[in-house]
């Protein structure tokens, strides 16, 4: 029985936002699904309500995987005994992936049979994680948490297009699968920094790829085979989002979106995220990103025939609102 209760909203499709271009899979029948789940009660005066968040996550996962309960949904993402990495984004202190979201994901992963010690919460540096109140732990039977600086990088250079990088051993050696937990925010150079750009935290040289608003570098990095193979799911932390002045934490440009964006197509997710940020900017009287010369064109590139990382065409993205 399908017990999803949701509305399909169409503002994204009708807004004239979508760009014309040769799209990778425009001719096929496949579609990307993106779930946007919101609940104003999930954030109260900047405090995330853990119980509400867990319920919201469950709803989003069930809707995305069309399941009757959250366990079934998570079992479609992971297998017991796998090692699963949670790629958080801890670059902007208070504006980083919420600890409460990570805890909720960990809880459901454990229920799906993943041993606590086979879960790795990770980002670039131990220091970044500690600043976000994560406790560094690389041994023992509890959930692990450490940065690339502890794990190191695999010595084989990954090359695609204009990008050549070493990838964290957390991705190459330690994990069977990755769950991507980026935040919804503006980026002063790349336009937005959400699902695709979060992988910059998995390579040794992200500082080299901010030229030309990250285009095509962000798409190129995501096209490394190891990322294609291992990233299982993206859950965007959109509890509190930022529409300007990112990636640094700028409270004056943040708003409580009070939601999660869930999907497996990182390109489609970024298209949606881009749209949400543009709409918010417009609402706040700010110019479109294009006018500030930081339109995130890398998202379109990621969907082109060379990269084939996902869908950018409006007809190819099914957006589900909860």
């Amino acid at each position: 029985m399908n017990r999803r209760i949701f509305l399909k909203k169409s503002f994204l499709l009708n807004s004239g936002f979508w760009l014309g271009r040769k799209y990778a899979l425009a001719g096929s029948n496949a579609k990307a699904k993106v779930v946007i789940a919101q609940n104003p009660a999930v954030v109260n005066r900047h405090q995330v309500q853990s119980d509400q968040l867990l319920a919201l996550l469950d709803k989003a996962m069930q809707a995305y995987f069309d399941c009757d309960n959250p366990l079934q949904a998570w079992q479609k993402v992971v297998q017991p005994d796998e090692v699963i990495g949670l790629k958080v984004n801890c670059l902007s202190g208070t504006g980083s992936t919420h600890r409460e979201l990570v805890d909720a994901v960990v809880e459901r992963l454990k229920e799906a049979g993943i041993k606590p010690y086979n879960i790795i919460i990770w980002d670039r540096l131990n220091k970044d994680l500690e600043e976000c109140k994560f406790q560094i732990r690389s041994r023992g039977r509890q959930v692990k948490c450490f940065g690339n600086d502890l794990a190191g990088f695999h010595p084989r250079l990954q090359v695609f297009g204009q990008a050549g990088s070493l990838v964290s051993r957390i991705v190459t050696d330690y994990c069977d699968g990755i769950i991507n937990l980026p935040v919804l925010r503006d980026h002063s150079i790349a336009g937005i920094s959400v699902a695709l750009k979060n992988m910059f935290g998995a390579i040794h040289n992200p500082n080299k790829y901010h030229l030309n608003t990250g285009d095509p570098y962000i798409a190129d990095v995501n096209a490394f085979p190891v990322f294609r193979k291992k990233i299982r799911l993206t859950i965007v932390d959109a509890l509190e989002a930022q529409y300007h002045g990112g990636p640094a934490f700028q409270p004056q440009w943040r708003w409580p979106f009070a939601g999660l964006i869930v999907g497996q197509d990182r390109v489609a997710i970024d298209c949606i995220a881009w749209q949400i940020i543009e709409e918010k900017r417009k609402q706040k009287g700010l110019p479109p990103l294009k006018q500030e010369n930081r339109e995130p064109h890398y998202i379109i590139t990621a969907g082109d025939t060379e990269h084939r990382l996902g869908f950018v065409h409006k007809e190819k993205i099914e957006t589900i609102y909860l």
Partner: protein
Amino acid sequence: MKSYIDSLPNKKQKFTRRQFLTAAGSACIMLGLPALPFPKGSSLKAAGNDQRFVREARFYEKLSHKQVRCKLCPRECVIDDHERGYCGVRENRGGTYYTLVYARPCTYHLDPIEKKPLFHFLPGSMAFSIATAGCNLNCKFCQNWQISQVTPEQVDSYYLPPDKIAEMAGDYRAQSIAYTYSEPTIFYEYMFDTAMAGRQKDVKSVVITAGFIEKEPLKELCKVVDAIKVDLKAFRQKYYSEIVRGELKPVLEAMQTIVEQGTWLEIVYLVVPTLNDSEKEIRDLSQFVKEFLGAEVPIHFTRFYPQYLLKNLPPTPVSTLERCKAIADAEGLKYVYIGNVPGHSAENTYCPDCGQLLVARTGFLIREMNIVNDKCPKCGTRIPGIWK
């Protein structure tokens, strides 16, 4: 993969420190010098987040909302709080910009000056050579990318403050300190202070750079160093955009500044088959050097070997290098060399007036040194350079 948990390393895994210069090692042995001043595992090895390496940057401006604009190189990165610039070694912390590589070399070595190459600078002398992690370019053919294209946390490093470097250079009878291997512009503050410390001990300083640096810091630098070798990557912006990720014009301007400041300049041009070796480009380059820098500025056409991200091209044919030299000679440049081809006659210095052999070289070794009082012993022509 399942049992990875207990096999996690205690120690940070890093790149193996690069084994620089076998030839220099041999030279050190011949000179009775240790190849490395410290034994392996020296206690000087530094920890990852050591505050001793952090100094406020010299050239930047503060912007609103805790952003900064770096003014050290023409990239002029605008950097948000917590973020780093393109070079990866400078970080915005709360609206103040810091270098993270002060006194933090990831490698040091004793090299023949000919390896830099500087051919008109104390021939046969040794240069105490240091580098930190990082670079403000990303050349697809970089031979040192394991240190140049990484952040300081990703390589082993040492704590060696400027005084210590000057002392070590003196101890090992190096006549100069060379800032080299990666891109010294990005460790500017450390280089500058080390050059000052070297001067106090009568040790010269030479900078091996791509010349992608702003005018003001370069002018300051010229006051404390003795020679600069610029790696001019090409004479076309297209190449700089696609292969180097930089800009040609600021490099040309930097070379003019070096000459204007009276600092000794030599140019290296890595000839990459099909990409920067056309007759027109080499001719344009030669004319630029002659007109704007002077016919006496040495230029070295060096051989490319496939490396890093540029492995689909063959090594440069020697005939191509010879053609480049012939063009530059014909345009009137007086000291045109061929590099990375040991034993080639174009490694030697000849008097541009009478053709007398002045310095005979094989690889990094000096076989003959015939310059007397900065002049050709046969015709008395003054030979530009720093000879003693």
